[in-house]
Symmetry: C2
Amino acid sequence: MKDVAAEAGVDTSLVSRLLNADQTLSVRPETEERVMAAVRRLAYRPNTAARTLKTARTMALGMVIPDLSNVIYAEIARGAGDRAAAAGYVLLISGAAAEVRTEILEDRVDGLLYAVATAQSVPDLDVPGAPPAILINRRGPASSPSVVVDDRAGVALATRYLLSLEHRRIAHVAGPQDVDTARRRRRGYVDAMTAAGLDVPAELTVESTFDEEGGAASTAALLRVTPRPTAIVAANSNAAVGAMAAVREAGLSVPQDVSVVGLHDIPHASYLNPALTTVRMPLAEMGGRAVDLLLGMIAGDPGGAVMVTTPPELIVRASCGPPAGR
Amino acid sequence: MKDVAAEAGVDTSLVSRLLNADQTLSVRPETEERVMAAVRRLAYRPNTAARTLKTARTMALGMVIPDLSNVIYAEIARGAGDRAAAAGYVLLISGAAAEVRTEILEDRVDGLLYAVATAQSVPDLDVPGAPPAILINRRGPASSPSVVVDDRAGVALATRYLLSLEHRRIAHVAGPQDVDTARRRRRGYVDAMTAAGLDVPAELTVESTFDEEGGAASTAALLRVTPRPTAIVAANSNAAVGAMAAVREAGLSVPQDVSVVGLHDIPHASYLNPALTTVRMPLAEMGGRAVDLLLGMIAGDPGGAVMVTTPPELIVRASCGPPAGR
DNA sequence: CTGTTAGCGCTTTCAA
DNA sequence: TTGAAAGCGCTAACAG
């Protein structure tokens, strides 16, 4: 910047105010032109570290995604990244779970988004000295800041669809019940069943992890129940993929013997065999809203627990049909 | 740091050298103890921006992944992140393709990893003033720094497996041929075919994108060729998923009518119907090697074009069988 | 064994 | 309309 100032024959402070579009400044147009020309000629780019040191703002937001291989985070990150960019921030993603790395991240961002879906320990938000942080797709203790989608409505929608197909023995491959997201999904299942006047026998809900392996294992267990369930609502689509595999493994077929629905419309869904019926959730929007909330907190707002209520959307494909014998 | 120094009754420079484990320093144990106690009591954490400003090193590495929804990048990033952490660096991932954001990233890292698999324009490496950068899973012009795996060997392995099953009319769903990775994969197919003394008719290779949709479209075209191919080697596993869908769409089945192999052992592979036979590539290792190379360049090394030669591994599942009529 | 000092590149208040 | 000056928090060369 010193070079630019010298080249333009002005003081560095003028260059700085020009570059930051300082409103309270009035410059002679020719001076401004001279400075801008120097900036271009020298290909000047401000030093982020110096700016950060001076202003105490990094203009970056961090997002922690322990499970980068789960594609739904790609969509959440896309929504978050776009919103951050619109506000002049960069979104920096860290794939690490390790608390150490999170601490290192903290020093480089003005705020933190935690996308931790599994039962992993919830990070301590509101650590003194650390930047504001919020949970994405998960709620924390009390009213700690968070943004979630309406999981309950999503799973209820899936379940109602199965009910409309005349299924009555509908099972639920539930997510880990120590995670609120999984609990809300389960509640959506129970809601829809009871609203239809049906019992919700305990043996038709099996808790599992959020992955294919968990979905397969719980489904295998479910298929041993008598009378056998005719349909399965999986807590997410990876588990649904596992569920379909388990149905085949048992010598049965989807959807003739067992129908399967998954939550989250993953890219593979329409290419599976059979194509997986899913419920699409507003994931990108959740990412965007999370950034809004975080930006508000950086500005001094208290935060809060947000739910994105954009209605889930049923994507009907081939993995569901009427129950056998109908 | 000033507070810590005051609390311990020493100078800040001593605190700094203690915290950075300065070897040339000898301290009285009791003094060190006093400083460390102060650090703990005040929960002191150094200011990254100030340190960066002073040392001109961020101790961060950036990784640009335009397509975060492609799970293979999760594995590459894991390998890169672990290696970076071992060297005392944080890996910061950006999901953005936009050049603007890349520029912003440049200011925050000591080096950049570009994981751009598709035909998107190759970023300018070696921009004056910008930190060193290398390409991952892709080669650039001339001998610009890059790290790739042995795609040619991977696809050749897949093709040889099909040959060992007695297939002769083996088709290739190729990736975009303006991407070197896709070209090398294609060469692997041609290698294996010619090594077996077979012709490689042009109509049995169809160029497509690296996703499910592309795989499905090219396979549909391939199935219209007469005589129809009995097996397909897909340039990656997402395309293979699309290929299997297209085979079914044509009223045929995998592997009875058409066998399918995919490159990259994605998590879904073993849960597909049928389970997808794949070739596992050393992706995490590629990420790690990329970090090694980049770290070397940061230290002043010239860089170079690296290929990870760890042998690809065939994962046999259910999507391949002998050709019909055998 | 420990302290002094200068300065990294920028922003911002105040003065001219 | 522009410049001077202080200082953000740290490191490193040098002095004591």
